[in-house]
Every structure is written in structure tokens, then in C-alpha cells.
């Protein structure tokens, strides 16, 4: 009998935990996107006023960022400094391979960024950075719509499914 209860509790907690984990992933993606938008703004300013070379811009971004984005920009700066890859896009691909567990949309934005870097003159590069920033901003905007309701539903759905399964189990 107690084994059943323990099993039901595990099922309930697992489902509930999954819901909370999903909500945590949502918050993390949201935070990373906001950070990337801020970094892109800084990169634009660096480019516009100082014409800073790409490896230095990436180093600055790495210093400004935290967590996964810090790792991505550090790896990108290192790849650019190593002068082994044929272009900045290949450097970004190598950097993304080094950093696991990035949300899909963030990976997409960073790949877009990598494909645009180092291919154009100043104005072209500014336009490309702007396009990546808009992509991030629109996704961030979509995430903000019904944000609280969505977070609540992830958590409560997890708990409800867990409770349902636990009842069936019992």
C-alpha cells in the first residue's frame, strides 16, 4: 500500500516538476532574448561610433553578458582571434557548437547574427544587426503576450496532469 502512495507521489511531483521546468525554460529564454537585444544595441553603438573590429566587439559583448550568452560571445571572439575559420558565419557555428542547451529561438537569432557579420560595409552591417534585433524583439514581444497566464498554465497543467495520473494510479 505505501509503495502505491509513494509511486503516486512521484508521478505527481514529476508532472508538476515538468510544468515548473517548462515555465523556468520560458523565463530563461525570455531573459536571454532581452539580454541579446541589449547586446545587439551595444554592438550597434560600438560599430557606429568606434568602428570596432569584430573580435573586440565580441569580447566586449562577452564581458557585458552572463551565462550562456557570455559563453557564446567568448567562444565567438576566440574563434575570430584564432583566424582559422573562413568567415564570421563559420566562427559563429563553431561557437554555437561549444555552447549546449540554448533555446531554439535564441540559436536561430544567433545563427542569423553569425550569417550577417563581417559581410557588409558599415551601413549594411548596421542594417543587418537591426534586422536581427527586430527578429529578437518580435519574438520577445510574442512571449510577453499573456505571459503570466501562460506561466500559470504551464505550472497548473503540470500539477493537474500529475494529480490526474496519481489518482488513476491509486
Amino acid at each position: 500500500m505505501p509503495v502505491r502512495y509513494i509511486g503516486a507521489a512521484i508521478v505527481f511531483l514529476s508532472c508538476g516538476g515538468f510544468g515548473f521546468l517548462k515555465a523556468a525554460h520560458f523565463r530563461r529564454e525570455e531573459r536571454l532574448l532581452a539580454e541579446l537585444i541589449r547586446l545587439l544595441e551595444q554592438m550597434q553603438s560600438e560599430l557606429e561610433f568606434r568602428l570596432t573590429p569584430l573580435p573586440m566587439i565580441c569580447e566586449h559583448a562577452a564581458q557585458e553578458a552572463a551565462g550562456s550568452l557570455k559563453a557564446v560571445f567568448s567562444a565567438l571572439a576566440a574563434e575570430l582571434e584564432a583566424q582559422v575559420a573562413p568567415d564570421a558565419s563559420a566562427c559563429m557555428q563553431a561557437a554555437l557548437k561549444r555552447v549546449a542547451d540554448l533555446p531554439e529561438n535564441l540559436q536561430k537569432a544567433l545563427t542569423m547574427l553569425g550569417n550577417s557579420l563581417g559581410r557588409f560595409d558599415l551601413q549594411g552591417q548596421m542594417n543587418e544587426l537591426c534586422a536581427v534585433r527586430e527578429f529578437c524583439a518580435s519574438h520577445y514581444g510574442r512571449m510577453q503576450e499573456n505571459r503570466d497566464a501562460r506561466l500559470r498554465s504551464y505550472q497548473s497543467l503540470g500539477l493537474c496532469v500529475g494529480a490526474g495520473l496519481a489518482i488513476l494510479f491509486l
Partner: protein
């Protein structure tokens, strides 16, 4: 002799680095990469061809790495060259993009000429003893920049403050000794640079590499009339060549340069005076 060799190798495609290092480390003056043809290592003794074919990816790699993947930081692309780390100048040929009547960039690069920057401390010692303004002339590859670099260093160490307008960032790349009283202004045009040095740096001597435009000559005149000593280089095979180029006329007419050092292709030089035939 000093040379930023590691920096040079770093901009070359990986498959060429070992061969270039093996055959060109001490003697290479130029490396020429032409699309679909073997790379040519040019030394003072002749050429050596490497047994591979240059691809478009190789050329793109050199341009990307030399500009640190940052075309906006290498604004000289529109002028047909990039200066890589270590002061190595990379001349480019290819499919040029024109915008509003002037060159905006190079769409497809088909040839590159990588000129190795070498520092030879001491070669300017004899020239440093010459007083007054000095113009160094010589054909391409005769060593004008190398001589100017050491001349600046010698004059600077002997007690005169020298402001260098290093538009192409070739004269004093990182790692090259500048001299105790040398101030270097990089990245700006010669005309603007000379005005800035004159107004803000209290320069006793101003040095510029490769005068190529009328405006440069006019700026040199203005500096000279302000009592500043001038050091400069110009492309010309002889005094006669120099006289034939109309942009240098104001320099002749006003006898701006008292001394002209003429470099020969074998890197030796002799002095002539600049005088107006009246």
C-alpha cells in the same frame, strides 16, 4: 632584422602556411596569390612557385582574416588595399564596385599582393645626419617605408619630437620600436593628420609616408611654412620622374625639400638637392 612573421602566417590559408614559412621566412618580400594559379613567393633572388592552385576561398580567407572579419574597420578596401596586423600591406585586384563615380569596394578578389613589412634598425643612421627636410623617393619595393621608419626612429632618439602621420598603419605596427620622442597618428588621411599634428602636438618634425595627392603637397607646404621639419616619401624612379609629376610642382616651386634621398632597386641610396631651375 625584425618582421611580424607570425602575424603574416596567421592571415594565410592553413594549407599554405607551412610552405610559406619554409621558403619565405627570411627572404620573402612579397607573396602573390592569383586565382587559379600557384602562389608566388618573391624574394630578392627571384620567385618560387608553390605546387598548389589558389582558390577563391583562399583569397577570401586572406581578406577576411587581414581585416579581422570586419570590412568596416578596413576602410582602405575602396583604395585597393588592406593593412594587416604587423604592418603587412595587402594589395587587391578584382571586380571593382563603383558608386557615385568612385570606387566603393571590390566585389570579387582575383589577385592579392602581400608585401612583407620588415624593420631594419640602423639603416637610417647615415641619413639622420642630414639637416632640413628630407624626401625619400624610389620605385615600388625599393625600401622607402623601411628607410623612413628608421630615419624617424634615429631623429626621435637624437632629441627631436617626431609626429608620424601613419595613414596606412604600416610604419609602426605593434612590436616595432618607435623611438623615444615619436608620436603616431594612425587611421586618418595625411592632410587632416598634418593639420592635427601641427595644431595639437607641437610637432618639431612631421613624417608622412607616400605623398600621392595635390592636397598632401599643399599640407606639407603649410607645415613647412610653420617652421616644422618634414620627412616624406614619394614614388619616383629618379629626380626626372619626380619633376614630371605635376602634383609635386608646388614642392619644387617652393623648394620645400632641400634633400632628396633617391633609392635604387638594390636598396642603396644617394642624395640630391631640390632646386628650382630659374
Amino acid at each position: 632584422m625584425k618582421c611580424a612573421w607570425k602575424e603574416l602566417l596567421a592571415i594565410l590559408p592553413l594549407r599554405l602556411r607551412a610552405d610559406v614559412d619554409k621558403y619565405g621566412k627570411d627572404t620573402m618580400q612579397e607573396l602573390r596569390l592569383r586565382l587559379g594559379r600557384p602562389p608566388e613567393i618573391v624574394t630578392d633572388r627571384g620567385s618560387r612557385w608553390l605546387p598548389v592552385e589558389v582558390t577563391a576561398q583562399d583569397l577570401s580567407f586572406v581578406v577576411q582574416t587581414a581585416s579581422k572579419y570586419s570590412p568596416w574597420a578596413a576602410s582602405t578596401v575602396a583604395k585597393g588595399y588592406i593593412t594587416a596586423a604587423g604592418g603587412h600591406r595587402i594589395g587587391m585586384c578584382g571586380d571593382v564596385v563603383m558608386k557615385d563615380g568612385s570606387v566603393a569596394g571590390i566585389r570579387t578578389v582575383t589577385s592579392l599582393c602581400i608585401r612583407v613589412a620588415r624593420d631594419l634598425p640602423g639603416i637610417g643612421a647615415r641619413a639622420a645626419g642630414i639637416s632640413g627636410n628630407i624626401l625619400i623617393v624610389g620605385p615600388p619595393g625599393s625600401g622607402k617605408t623601411t628607410l623612413l621608419r628608421d630615419l624617424i626612429r634615429q631623429i626621435s632618439d637624437s632629441g627631436q619630437a617626431v609626429t608620424v602621420i601613419d595613414e596606412r598603419e604600416e610604419l609602426f605596427p605593434a612590436g616595432f620600436m618607435q623611438g623615444r620622442r615619436t608620436d603616431v597618428l594612425t587611421g586618418c588621411g595625411k592632410t587632416e593628420g598634418m593639420e592635427m599634428a601641427l595644431r595639437t602636438m607641437g610637432a618639431g618634425c612631421i613624417a608622412v609616408d607616400e605623398i600621392t595627392a595635390q592636397e598632401d603637397c599643399e599640407a606639407l607646404q603649410r607645415c613647412c611654412w610653420c617652421g616644422v621639419r618634414l620627412l616624406a616619401t614619394a614614388h619616383a624612379g629618379s629626380i626626372r620622374d619626380l619633376r614630371c609629376r605635376s602634383i609635386y610642382k608646388p614642392l619644387w616651386d617652393n623648394e620645400i625639400f632641400g634633400n632628396i634621398l633617391i633609392l635604387r632597386q638594390d636598396k642603396t641610396w644617394y642624395t640630391e638637392r631640390m632646386m628650382v631651375c630659374r
